[in-house]
Each structure stands twice: as C-alpha cells, then as structure tokens.
Symmetry: C2
Subunit: 258 residues, 2 copies
C-alpha cells in the first residue's frame, strides 16, 4: 500500500489538514507530520540554528516545533517507517497563486519533497471573506490528484500547485492545467504606532490585482475551476542566459584574459 | 544618480554587507536596509503577524527586526526617498548554488525586488573552511554587475544569482553565465538528546554532492569562475503542462460535464 506524508503550514490542528488526512486514509497509509502551530508565510525556511522536537500526538500524527520544510525533511527520513511514496501539503486556508507561491510554506513543503525526489503536491482552498470553508471539495480534489500521481507519478523535478474554489463540489466548473500568473504589486504596508509613539510598519492588507491571462492559475479559480500548475525547481531563465551571453560578452572576454 | 538598496541575510553588522556598501558608494547613492541580526535560511519569509520596527543606525543605514524580504518591502517603499533603481543582496558568507537557493534569504531578497519590478541581484562568497574571506573580490564583481544592470537593465521578471570564489581577484579564472545546478540529496539530520534524555533532530551538516554539468553554477565556481545565473519568477514547467493535459485528460472531461 502507498505511504503518504501529509503536512501543512496552518499547523497540526487546522481543519484543512484534518479533512485531507481523513480523505487520503481511504487510499493509502497516511502519516501526518506538521508544525505544532501556524507557520504561514515562512516560505522555504529550514531551521538549522536549533534542534527540533517531534511529538507524537496520536497514532500516525506527529507535531514538530518547526516549519513545513522541517516537517518534510524530518518526517520523510526519521518519522515514517520508510520513504513516503507521496507528500501532500495542505489543505491551506487561502489561495497560493501567482508570484505569491514564493512566500508559501504550503508550497515550500512540496518543494522540499521534490528536492528529496518524492512526488509532491500542495493543495489550497481559495477562501474569500466567507465563513464557510468547503474543505470537503478540496479534499476530494486532493484524493483524485493523489490517485493520479500514485498511478502515473510526476515529470522529473516537478511538483503540482493545486488551488480549489471555495464551493460545494457540485458547483466546481471543472479542472484546468494552468501556468503561474503574475501579481501586479501594490504597496501594502500599513504604518502604525506603539503605545510609546514609535512608528512601526505592518506588512499585509491591500488588494492584489493580477495580470490578465486566459491560461493562468488566477484566471482558472476566478472562473470557478480547480487550477493545477506544474512547478519545477530549475529556476534558470534560459532565454535570459542567451541575452546575457550576448550583451555582456566584453566583460567575460576581458576577465578571461587576466 | 542611481539609487541602490543594499540588504542581506547575515545581518546589518556582517563584514560582507559592509564591503558591498563601501564599494557601491562609488557608483550610486546607496542605502542599507538590513535585518538587525542573522536571518539565514529564512527563505522568502514575510513577517505579517506583527508590526516591524525600522531603526536608523546612522546616515543611510537602517536595521529592521525582520527578514531580508521584509527589508526590501519596507525599504523600497518606506525608507528610501524614492523607489530604488537597483537592489543588491549580499555579500552572503557562503555559496547559494543549485536547489539550495530556494532556502536562501539572500536570493529571496532579490526575488522580492523583482516582484516589485526593481532590477535585483544576489551576491555570495563561496566560503569553504578557510578563515580568510575575500569580500573585496565579491564586492568588485558586484560593482561590475551593478554597473551593467544600471546601464542595460535586466530581462523581464529576472534576477541574477552571482556566486564568487573565495580568492584574491587576480586568481579568478573569469566569469561564466550558468544554469542552476541540481543537488543530490543526502540525508543530513543529526539525532541528539536533551539533558532530560528526550530525542531531538538537528538539521544540517552532511556533505552535499551535485549533479555533473558543464554549464552549471556549481561547476563554474568549482573551476574558479564567477557564476552568474539568471533566475526567473515564473516557476511553471511548461513541458509538464503538456504532459498533464494529455495524460490526465479523462478527468478534465468528466469534471467539465458535471
């Protein structure tokens, strides 16, 4: 039977993680190794300045006082009985779309899995202001994606970033394979003051807006579709490589002569 | 005159940052906005759960109790007199090569700059066990890269990841434009015990080894060259997109009918 490691960045008591765990138990042996508390926007942080504790919460469920990336690194090699066949990170409460994925602890856990050469995906529920969270919809999508990956694996060096609209499953328009969209930056730094009158800056808020694009992740979820984006770890811009080799040539030649 | 924002992840008192600042002052108006202490391996973390303080250390030098990404976000829009024309992150004490760049606070600061649509690069000194650090070599390379970017800008959505061998400048073999190499994972988690006998895990140590490849960043620095890798923010694996559209087709069609 397949062995699945589940983690997240909202922490071990997140209802999104519970929904995912319960659903995936139907298709594999599932272990949860997740942060003991919320670790949002920690990105691909790895804790190297202190030792970490793994606490068994109950059978198959472990809490770590670290980041999602820590959980994958330690979980895959020290907690599970063997190397997992699949890593699933989520269900994140909130979208992970466009450039924002570079901040995401949820996506970074799947990046760490991919570095370890284990097929991995991240799944997020695109929650707006609504109090109602359709975790069941995202869990169903995750189970489907998991079964595809367990059957067909994934292309080399590639993870999937899955975003699910916050709707009952029957209201989902379908599934789209998408490219990562681009967020147009809008300064979102709030100025505030301490009780002693010192100025502080609070990052957040603001309404992001997005580059238009038929085939983007953002466009898919805005139209009610599940978005699945294949993400790879090779960040090289090969076109730019040609540009640089051509335009910066004089410098290289000169230095090579020295 | 150009306006340059300098940051790093080793903290505001790092000699690498000082060397970079002193060198760049020769070509532009330079501001330093950097973490008040070491923030290595924080990746692209953004602090959103608390307000941040900016403290003026002296003219043009500011310390922030946040991550390198925080420093860029706040520095570019709140500290500098106007939007900078260039962001330089470094000089990091230690290489940022291959997949390891996804953990790097140094590289992430340049990613944040690129998201803000400001030309940006990261510069790292490839330090081994030696006690001698040739920051001056890396600073000279950084000044050269900065002057190229100020003159010619950079391709869209693209930053540069620059790694400099730890050698006197006259011993540098030259400059190579490279692709991001691939680290082959080797489990590097140390088991240890607390004074009370509880088991802890400490991530780190271990000797990374690398995929061979003539044109990689790792290969360049191993052969004594400066490595310059263009990195872009679009992480989509377009080849995998075709694979998924073809192979997972039945699922899409089925869901689209509902």
């Amino acid at each position: 039977m397949s062995l699945v490691l589940v983690t997240n960045d909202d922490g071990i008591y997140s209802p999104g993680l519970t929904a995912l765990y319960e659903k995936l138990k139907g298709l594999a042996t599932v272990y949860v190794v997740a942060p003991d508390r919320e670790r949002s926007a920690v990105s691909h942080s790895l804790t190297m300045h202190k030792p970490l504790r793994v606490q068994k919460v109950k059978e198959h469920i472990y809490a770590v006082n670290g980041t999602p990336t820590d959980c994958v690194a330690i979980g895959a090699s020290k907690v599970l009985p063997e190397k997992p066949t699949l890593i699933v990170s989520g269900i994140n409460i909130g979208a992970n779309l466009g450039d924002d994925i570079t901040y995401s602890g949820t996506v970074s856990a799947a990046i760490e899995g991919t570095i370890l050469n284990i097929p991995s995906f991240a799944v997020s529920l695109v929650v707006d202001d609504s109090d109602v969270h359709y975790f069941e919809t995202a869990a169903e999508v995750a189970a489907k994606v998991a079964s595809y990956i367990l059957e067909q694996s994934l292309p080399y060096d590639t993870l999937l970033n899955v975003n699910v609209p916050n709707k009952p499953v029957q209201d989902i328009a379908g599934v789209k394979f998408t490219r990562q969209g681009k967020r147009i930056y809008e300064g979102a730094i709030h100025e505030t003051y301490s009780p002693w009158g010192e100025k502080y800056y609070w990052i957040g808020g603001g309404v992001p807006y997005w580059e238009h694009g038929e085939d983007t992740d953002i466009n898919a979820v805005q139209n009610g579709y599940v978005s699945i984006t294949p993400i790879h770890l090779d960040l090289t811009n090969y076109n730019a490589l040609d540009f640089l080799k051509e335009r910066w040539e004089p410098w290289i030649s000169k230095n090579s002569e020295t």
